[in-house]
């Protein structure tokens, strides 16, 4: 990939004074504390809008998984109950979350990437996996599973079969983590190109689970470019990790601990 892909643009409504950004919660029934922290945060946030930049769910095999009583349905209820405007971008884990589930729970879908025009700024929002171009095999896999034909074919399998496939991939993924794979970071020259193409000076993304603010030098007009990386969320007996990035009109971006 050598250029900014087609991107969405979203003009923030005037009443949005505070906007939150979260990503990489990887919600799953086996991690109840992460779910609880997320549910509490969405119920309590004073933000006018919450942008969820991918990997909200650890896995999603189809909207029919959100049957009454399911974990997915409980997550849907948390989304529906949130008083803030909710916007969702797919990640590399939850790329099968469908328009039906989102609409039913009052969540608006975002293209990846999307330029948000808010607080007098243009912010380029992306999950982050598209920018990890070093991983050629992953990009090929991504292109395959994001294709409408592939998804239609996968979703045509009975739900039980899809869940079995997901469980198998989960086992393999856990073994993969035990295999200690070292992961690349985003391609920064490409990130600069994307910012130039979007006429934006700030990029916000997740995916790498390496929260930090990176300066990417200056653009052709001498404006400072920044890449802001969101934290993942993970809470269990040994770990407490969660973070919200908050944009307030007239103020700088701040990172908050929602716990």
């Amino acid at each position: 990939m050598t250029a900014l892909p087609a991107f969405g643009a979203l003009q923030a409504p005037a009443h949005w004074r505070t906007v939150d950004f979260i990503s990489d919660l990887h919600l799953r029934p086996e991690e109840p504390q992460t779910f609880d922290a997320w549910a509490h945060y969405l119920g309590a946030t004073p933000a006018d809008a919450v942008f969820i930049l991918g990997d909200l769910f650890e896995v999603w095999v189809g909207d029919d998984a959100a049957a009454p009583g399911s974990f997915e349905a409980r997550c849907g209820q948390v989304l529906a109950d949130c008083r803030a405007d909710l916007l969702f971008m797919h990640g590399n884990r939850d790329f099968l979350v469908g328009p039906d589930f989102l609409a039913r729970h009052g969540v608006r879908e975002l293209a990846d990437p999307t330029v948000l025009i808010a607080a007098g700024q243009r912010l380029l929002l992306t999950h982050g996996d598209l920018l990890c171009t070093d991983d050629v095999d992953y990009q090929r896999f991504r292109a395959q599973v994001r294709a409408a034909g592939w998804q239609r074919n996968f979703l045509a399998h009975p739900l039980a079969e899809r869940q079995a496939i997901a469980r198998q991939m989960r086992t393999q993924s856990e073994a993969h983590h035990a295999s200690q794979a070292v992961y690349a970071d985003v391609d920064e020259p490409l990130a600069r190109q994307w910012l130039a193409g979007a006429n934006a000076t700030t990029m916000i993304h997740g995916h790498t689970h390496r929260p930090a603010d990176h300066t990417l030098g200056a653009d052709a007009r001498g404006r400072a470019l920044t890449r802001v990386v969101l934290s993942d969320w993970h809470i269990d007996a040994h770990t407490r990790r969660a973070q919200v990035l908050r944009l307030t009109v007239g103020d700088a971006l701040v990172r908050l601990d929602p716990l």
């Binding site: 070093d134 991983d135 050629v136 095999d137 992953y138 090929r140 896999f141 991939m169 393999q172 993924s173 073994a175 993969h176 983590h177 035990a178 295999s179 200690q180 794979a181 070292v182 690349a184 970071d185 689970h209 390496r210 929260p211 930090a212 934290s231 770990t239 990790r241």
Partner: protein
Amino acid sequence: MSNPQIELHITGHGVITIELDAEKAPKSAANFLSYVQSGHYDNTVFHRVIKNFMIQGGGFEPGMKQKPTQAPITNEADNGLKNHVYTLAMARTSDPHSATAQFFINTVDNDFLDFKSPTAQGWGYAVFGKVVKGQEVVDAIKAVRTTRKGFHDDVPQDDVVIEKAVVVGA
């Protein structure tokens, strides 16, 4: 005492000579040496190769069968050594102190892998040696064709096998 040197003999590619930094990374150097001397690295593959990033190996036999390892070691990434091109570092899971046998050779400067802070996300990857001979072998390995095998991405299509790892002058 000079730093130990190890040769990795790669079938069909040549020899990579590594010098360990026993002063700045004593635990990692001793750990690596122990795996070399026990023959652990013999008949393992470079199973994860990403051209402009790094080449990773030391954990799997051909056929992606994982070899058993010893206890994990403390992360020594706060030793001041940087993940520059041709340096050798320990691979690990997201647990900062989980490194066992797997290692990687940086094929570009990878600043983002350096130690930032003693937190789960900031620990980075411990550099404990560098390639002193055979950089061209590293360059050849980094460019091999890779594919997705099962859930592993970036696996060389044709196995890149460490036939044997030996201590130089032993």
